[in-house]
């Protein structure tokens, strides 16, 4: 009985828990509720992934209204994978958040924080699990609005969080509105909002100008949401000034869900048979992705605030994800999806370290990192591990991503792109090593000695680090699911 309703449970449970959390005045209770809900969603996503890998596509009609008239939740290998990432990261972040949030947000507002967190989780999960285009917009906005609030909650530490949240709001709303214009135009031309139905109905009218305009609006709108260069301007400030736990969660999940949605629209709805898609991928998305990789990595090198540095690094990493699917091959799509997973692990661990540093030292700037290698050895060791993963050293998860990306570009015969991929990886060496040198080879500035981070922060960090290494040594699960998912996406283009 429950297993039949898994797709909707994935979304309903956090959604119902959110208003509940408002009534729980005590932060500890709100935290417990959130954590339990997150574990529940994680278990649901594991179950969904397992069912999808052994069976096939799961199709669930909301309220038993059959698609395409009713809203359909459609789970295949692609979104099951992304669901796993989102719910998994959420579950690991929450133990971390308990301590981190307690130090960065007023005690009275903490239960409201968890409310917004649950709403954000709902939005992200809903965006991914749904098979209806407008439903995707609704969940996109649910997650975005709660994200704006979450980012603004960093105002206690730094008032720039407010302006960051405001900019994010304006840009994010424009993006979402573009997206809904696109969906509206598609509805105008096809009369349906169901993704699978859209796919079949778009095909005969592909050359229609309205469809082309809809395509443009959707790509731009989602591009804003996933921080595609040059639509990334909201990201550095949002990541830098948000509460540490929020940055961890957002960096690992928010843009991933938007990337997923873009992939879903490009490959399932429009399909590889659409010649405009091919042109867009090759002449728009691929160059922008490469620009992102280089420009963002270069800017990262010169940042003083390490959170900003990693934010720019994230923009570059999103460039990698887009580059992967712009090849429009199975290997390329698989590379994108694998990097979706791996980047969540890498950036999650790195931002957790920064949160711990911020807890002990107040800020996470390059100056506050000096000498930390001796004072916070475990924390900085986690940073080194995450950093090596970002660079792409073998036996870490980053290497698997790089391998697939280079393989995809060589397979498509585009060896200059392969050269660009490795060149930008080397830029990562520069900005990661800056921090490592500051931590281990510089003397601590005179002042108070700081203690090692508390276990409540270290354990989740090391969980992610361990995942980094584990999935780097045995990438079987991620590669199998990603390749299967890529096959589905490419096959749908027929």
């Amino acid at each position: 009985m429950i297993s039949h309703h898994l797709p909707i449970l994935q979304v309903i449970v956090p959604l119902l828990a959110a208003p509940l959390s408002v009534f729980l005045r005590r932060a500890a209770l709100a935290w417990y509720l959130t954590f339990l809900v997150s574990i529940a969603t994680f278990l649901v996503s594991i179950a969904l992934l397992e069912r999808v890998m052994t069976g096939g596509v799961i199709s669930y009609a909301l309220g038993d209204w059959a698609a395409p008239y009713g809203i359909e939740y459609r789970v295949d290998a692609v979104n099951a994978f992304v669901l796993l990432i989102i719910s998994g990261i959420s579950t690991v972040v929450l133990p971390y958040a308990r301590t981190s949030v307690a130090s960065e947000i007023d005690a009275g507002s903490q239960s409201l924080f968890y409310t917004c967190y649950l709403l954000c989780l709902t939005g992200l999960l809903g965006m991914v699990v749904t098979g209806d285009a407008f439903n995707a917009f609704v969940f996109l906005e649910i997650s975005s609005l709660s994200t704006y609030v979450l980012v603004a909650m960093g105002a206690k530490r730094d008032r720039r969080a407010l302006t960051a949240a405001y900019s994010y709001l304006v840009m994010g709303t424009i993006g979402a509105t573009f997206f809904v214009i696109g969906v509206g135009l598609l509805y105008m031309m096809t009369g349906t909002l169901n993704m699978a139905d859209l796919a079949s109905r778009i095909q005969p009218i592909e050359s229609n100008r309205t469809v082309l305009v809809a395509f443009a609006f959707i790509v731009t709108g989602l591009g804003l949401k996933l921080a595609l260069f040059p639509l990334h301007l909201w990201l550095p400030n949002a990541y830098a000034f948000a509460p540490s736990a929020v940055t961890v969660f957002l960096a690992a999940t928010a843009t991933k869900a938007a990337v997923y949605l873009l992939i879903r629209f490009l490959f399932t709805i429009f399909g590889t048979g659409y010649d405009i898609l091919g042109l867009t991928l090759a002449y728009l998305l691929m160059p922008l992705a490469i620009l992102a990789m280089f420009a963002a990595s270069t800017v990262a090198i010169f940042q003083v605030d390490i959170k900003r540095m990693l934010a720019y690094s994230s923009i570059a990493q999103i460039g990698y994800m887009i580059l992967g699917f712009s090849f429009a091959t199975v290997t390329g799509l698989a590379a994108s999806l694998i990097h979706l997973f791996n980047h969540a692990l890498m950036k999650g661990a790195l931002f957790m370290v920064l949160g711990a540093v911020a807890l002990r030292k107040g800020t996470a700037s390059i100056d506050s990192m000096r000498g930390l290698g001796r004072q916070m050895p475990w924390t900085m060791a986690a940073f080194v591990a995450g950093g090596l993963s970002l660079i792409g050293v073998p036996l870490t998860v980053g290497f698997v991503s790089k391998w697939y990306l280079v393989a995809a570009s060589l397979e498509s015969g585009m060896w200059p792109i392969a050269v660009l991929i490795v060149a930008s990886s080397l830029l990562a060496v520069v900005y990661v090593w800056r921090v490592v040198e500051a931590a281990y080879l510089s003397d601590a500035p005179d002042g108070r000695r700081v203690e090692e981070a508390p276990p409540s922060l270290l354990v989740p960090t090391y969980l992610l680090v361990a995942a980094n290494v584990y999935f780097g040594i045995d990438a079987g699960l991620t590669t199998r699911v990603a390749t299967r998912a890529a096959g589905i996406l490419m096959g749908a283009g027929e």
């Binding site: 036996l395 060589l410 060149a423 080879l441």
Partner: protein
Amino acid sequence: MSDATTLALTIVIPLIGAVLIGLTGRSPNLREGVTLGTASLLFLDVLWLFGQFQEGAEPAVVLREVMPGLALALRIEPLGMMFGLIASGLWIVNSLYSIGYMRGNREGHQTRYYMCFAIAILSAMGIAFAANMFTLFIFYEMLTVSTYPLVIHKETEEARRSGRTYLGLLLGTSIGLQMVAIIWTWIATGTLDFTKGGILAGRIDEVVVPALLGLYMFGIGKAALMPFHRWLPAAMVAPTPVSALLHAVAVVKAGVFTVMKVVVYIFGIDFLAATGASRWLVWVAAFTLLAASIIAMTKDNLKARLAYSTVSQLSYVILGAALATSLGVIGGSMQIAMHAMGKITLFFCAGAIYTATHKTEISDMDGLGRVMPFTYGAFLIGALSVIGLPPMGGSWSKWYLMLGAADAGQLVMIGVLMVSSLLNVAYLLPVVGRGFLAPAAGSPGARDPVPRAVGAAAAPGLVTGIREAPALCVVPPLITAAGCVALFFYADSLYRLLEPITRP
């Protein structure tokens, strides 16, 4: 215990050793005991594998499948066996020397040092016994990362800068060039397993073979092919046992070993010869050979001179591989062993001199030979081996290289090798000569009446205050010097061990 387990133990033993070293950091004697115990265990393990291999067994083990079609796997073959023996054997000697050096100079961070050493040897074992290029690359990168803390050991500003050069060049070449080459190979052939006769024949367009070879050769930065050689002199900022490890046992040997494996088992000697893809490499290697020797002659810092000598000697191996003939390959492979033994002797001596006198510049070392006869004696033997004179092992590798050059019709290379030997004489023998024959610095009749003070209290009568270096710094070079001589007589066994790689 099965062959597969024994083979896997070559990785596990140093790993456990590293952990134990970390745990026993508080009690230095116990920690040193762990290091020596681990090294001895490892050597015994490798010897046992050698015994099995001699009897015709081919131990192999698959550790883990990392990605579909790409597994971490180990397998014994002649080249790997040789490198494994060298690395594990010399680790024991190097550990003894490290103890003497680190205590004699009262260096800090010793636990970190010994731990990273253990992991570096683990990586070397992984490289030696890798069954496919993927595994080799993984351990190759592990070697880079684990030796970085060793290079920046002293944590001075200079160490920091050198560390950046080291890491930047090695990671840059491996990620930027070698990884691309490996993935290219994988996509073209579908496999990365080391196979006799190579895997590329027929699977790749012959026009691009030189380009692929170039990606590999320049991508293997540890082989110090010019212009990616700068990390080697930069790494001299490390304590001398690290230099000995880097320049003789693990890092550079891993580099040229990888070159050999790629040439023999990925490209295939006959494939290379048929396509002529390595002809450009012969010239680049020859250039590196000569240029590095000439630069070595200009260096007054002893370790710098030895570093450039290493760059030059490494290109012997690359030259041997590039000649694409059986004798050339065997000569190059032998050079791996001979040079390891010779160079480690030279570095041990340099470290012994530093420990005893704190001198680093050759011009300050006049007359030291009379006071430190054992050190300088070992240095002489090591130098003769590097120069290539009998009865030292180095003469055999040079001989086979010249034969290989003749076979390939590259008579110019024979000339190059001979000129190189003369250059070697020019930069190595003066050190010994001045040590034994020149008047001591500061005494009347010395070349420089005003002694240059480099890290030492420069006063006349200096020589009388110096004795031989501590025993643990002198015995290892004597052992390895004896090894140089022994290799001369055992060259035949080495030849018989290596010869199967040239048979199709």
